[in-house]
Amino acid sequence: MKLGSDRFFGAGWIAFGAAVLALSWRMDRLEGLHINPWSVPGLLPGLLGALMVLFGAALYLRTPAPDPVGKPEAGASGGRIWLALVLCVGYAAGLLGRGLPFWLTSAGFMFVAILVFRWLDRDAEDPSSMGRIALGSAVIALAASAATSLLFQEVFLVRLP
């Protein structure tokens, strides 16, 4: 498992480093401006691309470490990850800045996220009915949304998205 993921990511680093190297090589060297050739903009990016290829190859080829420290924590669930990802990305990239008021969008996101994850984590909380959890989630979401909106808009004078 570790060997496979290291090889997969090693190959990914090699491909990424090669792409960076190619883009750096093709970067404008500003010869028309008669700059010192040692100050071309692609110098460091090119070196970094080369180092990524080299170190990515080392990751690909090496014997796996005996202690799988990078392994996902026991109990991490793919379903929970996707749920968190969809909720967060849906809110931040899908809803914000599309014409809906910030407080409403944020309250809606927080209500759904708090409700869903409290329901999923219900074994770790004191016993409570679904109705109470929903009501509590709505109150918290509205209060937090109002507080953050007021804080950023009125105190820090940020034009909210």
Partner: protein, 495 residues
């Protein structure tokens, strides 16, 4: 004498009612951030940077340093009571802290955490005041060659020491350095990796990237695992004891010195300060068999070490513009946002600011002591709040924190993109701290390399033959070679 006068001036400036309110409020916020597992000192400082943009530089840095000190201190609570370190820096203290809690001495453990943290922080402040001007004076002799190696060494050391796999740490450091190259280059203002996007021309903002790496990625990590029921029982007396300081003064001094030294090393950080101090205390203690089973000395060493590393990490950030840890990197970025340029010239151009930071760290330590004496029990309610409530609220703050600096929706996308990439890589054991150091130091590495080569007309010799550059180059190369099995075998044969 000049230094003492400047320090007195700085302390006097922090006695205003607003400054005291900011210091107490920010330390409390920091402690709460530290208590909540999943929220780090780095994220706390990044988010508060957004909120302090309109403050004066000194007030803003006051808030950020107080959050920094508070977060590292607060994380020990969670470690003691739940066996989950609130921040990575508290992992060493958790070993003995939770063991003490299991013996019904959680309050005693919290008292030791307060004593160790305050003692370590005081020791660190003393070093901050004395070593920063000395280091800045040495750094005045630095040229592009020295700055290139110093910044590169920071990324390499961070890669070697912050994760469990140096190879992955270095790759993350290179990724951070590359991320810093996106946008207009610092010498000819030529576009790099912008692909025709006007948003990318402005570069990847440090704060959105940091909030993504330490905020969104952490939220995904936390939410991907089912919650465990918090078991918080009544605790005994939480008051720190003077007797502990008298009994363990040698451990405190040793741990303070180790913490400051580790803090000064570029990019290493507080967690390594705690572990190194803990290991040294175990080696020299007559009660070493008690370590890990509820040793007061072990807990004292770990908490002294991580808090001493905070001022330690600020020293190179001020004197060399090379931060000693990830939170110090954000602090340094905040200084730049506020028009303060850290580096060797800071001591020449703005010496008062250096002593402002010393006074601020001292005030933060005093605030930590106040909360350690009076707010331990009330703060425990934070541990009872389900994370299903906290994380969505934190995500909204992350979104706003990324957006508010420049009011650009693009920065929200940066936060999301960096967060997802860091989440995926972290699950495979790639540490995030070198990536952050890389972003912060990318500009220095790029400009120093090209300026050095222009000065020497393409000759690489000065990068290795100038005395300080040569030493830094040797350390950087050995840092990498020490992890190569074939090179290690050769070193072993030579030894």
């Amino acid at each position: 004498m000049d230094g003492l006068g400047l320090l007195a001036n700085s302390l006097f400036g922090l006695l205003g009612p607003w400054q005291i309110t900011y210091a107490l409020g920010a330390t409390l916020v920091g402690i709460v951030i530290g208590i909540l597992p999943g929220l780090s000192a780095t994220l706390g400082i990044a988010l508060m940077t957004t909120l302090t943009v309109k403050m004066t530089p000194t007030d803003a840095i006051l808030v950020l340093v107080c959050v920094y000190v508070g977060a590292i201190y607060g994380g020990s609570r969670t470690g003691i009571l739940l066996n989950i370190p609130g921040t990575a820096a508290n992992a060493a203290a958790t070993l003995d802290g939770h063991a003490l809690a299991l013996q019904g001495r959680a309050g005693r453990a919290m008292g030791i955490a307060t004593t160790g943290s305050v003692a370590g922080s005081f020791f660190g402040v003393l070093c901050l005041a004395t070593l920063t001007p000395l280091l800045a004076e040495v750094a005045l002799k630095f040229q592009a060659y020295e700055f290139f190696w110093l910044a590169l060494l920071g990324v390499l050391m961070s890669g070697s020491l912050t994760g469990n796999d140096p190879l992955k740490g270095w790759l993350m450091g290179f990724l951070g350095l590359l991320t810093a190259q996106i946008g207009l280059d610092g010498i000819h203002a030529q576009e790099r990796f912008t692909f025709g996007s006007s948003d990318l021309t402005g570069g990847i903002g440090l704060i959105p990237a940091l909030v993504g790496a330490f905020g969104f990625a952490e939220i995904l990590m936390v939410m991907s695992e089912p919650a465990k029921k918090a078991m918080i029982n009544a605790v005994d007396s939480v008051l720190p004891r003077i007797g502990d300081v008298l009994k363990y003064w040698k451990t405190i001094l040793r741990s303070g010195a180790i913490g400051v030294f580790i803090g000064i090393l570029p990019g290493v950080g507080e967690d390594m300060g705690a572990w190194s101090s803990y290991a040294a205390a175990k080696r020299f203690s007559p009660e070493r068999d008690q370590f890990g089973k509820g040793s007061i000395e072990g807990m004292m060493a770990a908490e002294t070490g991580d808090n001493a590393a905070i001022p330690g990490a600020i020293i190179p950030a001020l004197a060399l513009a090379v931060p000693g840890s990830a939170p110090a990197a954000v602090l340094m970025a905040a200084m730049i946002i506020h028009g303060v340029q850290p580096g060797p010239m800071l001591m020449v151009n703005q010496p008062q600011f250096v002593y402002d930071v010393v006074a601020i760290t001292l005030v933060a330590t005093l605030c930590m002591l106040v909360f350690g004496l009076v707010m331990v029990r009330p703060l425990m309610w934070v541990l009872r709040v389900p994370r299903a409530i906290i994380m969505p609220i934190v995500f909204v703050l992350c979104t706003l924190g990324a957006y508010a600096i420049a009011s650009r929706v693009f920065d929200i996308w940066v936060m999301l993109g960096v967060g997802v990439v860091c989440f995926v890589l972290r699950r495979q054991g790639f540490p995030v701290a070198p990536f952050v150091l890389g972003i912060v130091l990318g500009d220095i590495v790029d400009k120093s390399l090209r300026r050095g080569l222009v000065l020497s007309d393409g000759d690489l010799t000065p990068f290795f033959t100038r005395p300080i550059a040569g030493v830094l180059a040797a350390v950087a190369i050995l840092t990498v070679l020490a992890q190569v099995p074939a090179a290690r075998r050769i070193f072993a044969k030579i030894a």
